[in-house]
Amino acid sequence: LKATTVDGGVISAGGTRAAVRALFDPVVSHARSVRITGQVIWALMLRKFRADYGHRKLGVFWAFLPPLFTVAFFVAIFTVIKAGQAAPIGHDPAPFIALGLMNLQFYRSVLGGIAGSLRRGKSLLIFPRVKVYDLYIAAYLLEVAILVVVFTVFMAAFIFFGLIPMPEEFDRVLLPLLISSMLGVGVGYIHAVLSLKVVGWAMVWTVIGRIVFLTSGLFFVADGMPLALQEWLYYNPILHLTEWLRSGYYANYESRFLDPAYPLGFMLAVLLLGFAAERVFRADLLRGKVT
């Protein structure tokens, strides 16, 4: 066995083995580090899952309770106000509200998970295998995994009871939810930095949260709003995503308001800004000191 080196020399069999090893070493060590990162993220996810749900009697069932009660509460209000009138689209208000709420929840839960993951998890950075991005990725994956389960169970129940049909185009379900969650990542980073750097941000944030809650289309269809209002509502990317998600379930509903490029572009911009802000202020975030 002989091999020619780059400079034309010939090396022996032992040298070949060394050369092959040298060639594959980066690949092997890369595969190893990917495996280690996977192990760490998995361990972090299970740890956080146990911390969030493990010590309660009902366990993960707690994840279902808030959306269940929220939907039930607003369905009750819908029923009382509209005196039995049907939901804006479809026959039943429950799936209509649930879709809006779930879409918003993909944004809000991920946002909360990302914004708090460094504060809650920084003590774990003392383990040399745990890197900052592992904390973020674990927080994102756990929030999304729980929401996917909750969402699937809710929708399966609605479909089972014949309240909404099975979605025909799954991209209309997956894409808006994915964009909502990634929007949560970007805003989560920005929120974490601003709450550290801007005095009184908590107050501003509360107001923003309320505005987002009211304008994200939990209770209305954008097309049904006055045109002057629609012009303002256009700037809330989550409303677009709500309309997008609903168009996946209500086969005869096609939103005129929806502009898929806007939430997508908004999400990418916020994500870029968020990553940059997190990287620049990471030392401050780790110190956790309000300045």
Binding site: R35, Q39, A43, R50, I126, P128, V130, A283
Partner: protein
Amino acid sequence: VIRLRNASKVRESGAGSRVVLDTVSAVLPRGRSIAILSRTPGAASCLFDLFAGATELDSGSIRVDASISWPLGRKAHPFKSMTIRDAATFVARMYGQDTARVVAFLRDFAEIGNSIDKRFSRESHDVRTRVQLALALSIEFDCYLLESLTLHRNPAFQAKVWEALGERLAGGASLIVGGSRQTRPLIKACDMGVVLVNGEMMIYDDIREAVRAFKATSARRSVTAPMRLEGHPA
């Protein structure tokens, strides 16, 4: 191997900020037991934080090419309100180990009896330290980071830990030891030394030389540099 390139770090604490590293470029070799000698308060701990990735450099880069343990012998623990069993499971998963084996090792080594399902934060300092040491020893690291040579107040347990560490050292592992109150035991435990003075890092291949240099610098320091008073808590 730990490589520092133009590394700078100022450690900020309640008692003011102190320079730990000032554009240091250095290589700490693999397979050697290294003592970190410094009179800057918290300098060794800060260095360990940097090795472990718990804090970031202000500038420059650090690269750790070895499987190092987390710093052992600290009061603070990362497990917060996890149960001891959960902590063991977490560590085992993170290092790709069999969780049952790690829990069994922990039970056997730490001698904590029925405390295994209790919350970490509710346990005494004694138990927490036992668990941390047992967990670190349940994983085969290339290098163990020790905040000081005294790892546990209980002499029997201290001896047990050092017996286990001795086996690891015989198997090719190494130590990095911080804390420099007593240099005599350090000379026994380590074979080379790093002296940190005013952000400068000097590496000595022989631990005796390092200790000598350390004593000299600290003596000079006491003459030339007065106590820092800025930001001192009233």
